[in-house]
């Protein structure tokens, strides 16, 4: 991106001033190097989002922003229903409620390394992953609707997990306002045998070691210390969410003109929050959020069974579960003078993580003083991070932070450069065991195909969006 096109508000904050049809400015958080490397499409897409009705304050992009669909990936935008605000299927993405969950194990590296290979094999055997894989759970129509209404709470009630897990999941494990009846039969059919599956592409399950702690006090409140072993799961709402995204993208593309919304790009398809299409989408999207929460809960149960067999001394309580493709109703203080202080806004985060600061009532009580855990996945050979929400983040970007590294090159280019076998062998030489049904998939996900997650996290930290707490490095990675 040509940084001369932007006004630099501070070292880590760049503004695209309001112009033309923009209703608000656009703001990108990044350091200069990330800005220069950032795709110009992020500029265009952040500007386009700023044109949508009812947008509040600014159209934001996080340090890992890249070219998405209508909205940039790494985009955050809040809409006010009182001001004709909209909800957008493209602003949430196809993989509704894709997110990251982190489990403690109470183990140290020395406990895991003697069984590392057996652990990798057992996780790979137990966790359905990759194209065409199916889970062991089949839901009839009634159970499907119960899952879509109940989320992780439904899963725990059915025996997949523990009640204590629920307090460590956003929305206490169950998104309210879900309308299973708004989810099409096609979407339900696509999910029929995909419960408890990991998916493919950039989704993974990793056993990781805490290799650095930057904020000892917060890490302590999160229950993390140097040398701890944790499990991280990255996946979403599977076929059901993808189908809902697909269907409502089309409906909104057609409906937008009926509602008199001029779209700068058809991919920005949206509908007024207070419209039949908008309300139907919100009900279906919330059901997909529950599907993702239930799915990660079932995967958690499968992981615990593997650990119980190989490392029976381990207990795997949940640190936190946070989604990064959502639209959520939140109360935010805004600068608008006549708003009466707090406004209820529909905050879209597409490839961006909610990051509530210390004291926020939606952060579970044991973590509240520290701020909400923000879980950032890296590539399979590098690192992941745990951050904590800050008080400043609310005024910066409606309490939001980055979500991952972002790709540095296309899948095609990665395939041209690397062979899957070689990637597996090179990582094994570094004591990182990869298991995947697809060598081509591994080549496309090679660590060097991703940007440096550390630079993204450092920029988020320096900008004040979230505070860097700990770095995690993989020992075992199951790839779809």
């Amino acid at each position: 991106m040509d940084i001369n096109l932007l006004k630099r508000r501070s070292e880590y904050e760049w503004e695209i001033p309001q112009q033309g049809a923009m209703r608000v400015p656009a703001v990108i958080y990044a350091d200069e190097s990330l800005m220069r490397d950032m795709d110009h499409k992020v500029y265009e897409q952040a500007v386009n989002v700023a044109m949508l009705p009812g947008i509040v304050k600014a159209s934001y992009a996080m340090p890992d922003a890249h070219w998405g669909y209508g909205f940039p990936i790494g985009g955050v935008a809040a809409f006010d229903p009182e001001q004709g605000g909209v909800v957008s299927a493209g602003g949430v993405g196809f993989d509704i409620s894709c997110g990251v969950r982190c489990l403690h194990t109470g183990l140290a590296r020395a406990d895991v390394m003697p069984v590392q290979k057996a652990l990798a094999e057992a996780l790979y055997y137990r966790i359905p992953a990759g194209v065409g894989s199916t889970g062991a759970i089949r839901l009839n129509e009634g159970e499907m609707d119960a899952m879509l209404a109940g989320g992780a709470r439904w899963a725990v009630e059915r025996g997949w997990g523990e009640a204590a897990d629920l307090e460590r999941i956003e929305e206490h494990g169950r998104m309210t306002g879900a309308k299973p009846g708004n989810v099409s039969q096609h979407a339900k059919k696509r999910q029929r045998d995909e419960m408890g599956t990991l998916g493919s592409g950039n989704h993974y399950l990793e056993v990781q070691e805490v290799t650095a702690v930057y904020e000892t006090a917060i890490a302590g409140q999160f229950g993390l210390k140097q040398g701890d072993i944790v499990v991280m799961i990255h996946c979403g709402s599977r076929g059901l969410g993808h189908q809902i995204g697909t269907e409502y993208l089309k409906r909104m593309a057609i409906a937008a003109s009926q509602y008199g919304i001029a779209l700068p790009d058809r991919e920005l398809a949206c509908a007024p929050i207070r419209s039949p299409v908008g309300e139907e989408y919100l009900g279906a999207m919330r059901a997909a959020i529950n599907c993702a929460l239930a799915n990660r809960q079932i995967l958690t149960h499968l992981v615990r069974k593997v650990f119980a067999e190989l490392l029976p001394q381990a207990r795997l309580p949940l640190l936190y579960d946070v989604s990064h493709n959502t639209c959520k109703v939140e109360e935010h203080r805004t600068d608008v003078a006549n708003s009466g202080g707090v406004r209820r806004l529909y905050v879209h985060r597409k490839g961006a993580t909610r990051a509530f600061g210390p004291g926020h009532p939606d952060v579970p009580e044991p973590l509240r003083a520290a701020g909400q855990p923000v879980l950032i996945g890296g590539s399979m050979g590098t690192g992941s991070y745990v951050l904590a929400g800050t008080a400043a983040s609310e005024s910066l970007a409606f309490s939001s932070a980055c979500h991952g590294a972002g790709r540095a090159m296309s899948r095609h280019e990665a395939l041209r450069r690397w062979k899957g076998r070689k990637v597996v062998d090179d990582l094994a030489a570094r004591d990182i065991l990869i298991r995947s049904p697809s060598m081509r998939g591994i080549a496309e996900e090679a660590p060097e195909a991703y940007k440096d997650v550390s630079a993204v996290v450092d920029a988020a930290d320096a900008a004040g969006l979230a505070k860097k707490v700990a770095r995690l490095e993989p020992l075992v990675c199951i790839k779809g």
Binding site: H66, V131, I254, A269, M439, G441, E444
Partner: protein, 138 residues
Amino acid sequence: MGARWEHFEHGADVGVRGFGASKAEAFEQAALALTAVIAEPATVEAREAVAIECEAPDDELLLAEWLNALIYEMATRKMLFSRFEVRMDGTRLSAEAHGEPVDVARHHPAVEAKGATYTALRVAREGGEWVAQTVVDV
């Protein structure tokens, strides 16, 4: 020239583009490009046929609809397709997709397609041939 397909670059995902003498042929080629996102089309045998029908208000939405119908059939039938016969009648499309069940050992499928987006979505006649393209979310 003639019927062919290619991929084009998109930051995180993959663009699929089909060319053909007719719009229907360009749609068939775009479908082949979609298969190639997941696996090598030459490894997929055309053993079973699945009938697909869809409709959309314009050519571009119809392309997205067609690719999304294939994604749905691949996902629910756990199949891959390597040969397509598309017939178009105004805003309606009917087709047969020929393929076989996913065989991980033989197909080495790299990634699922989640959905066809409207990004870089274009159906047009250029220099005497049709081009049909969009970006697929993987």
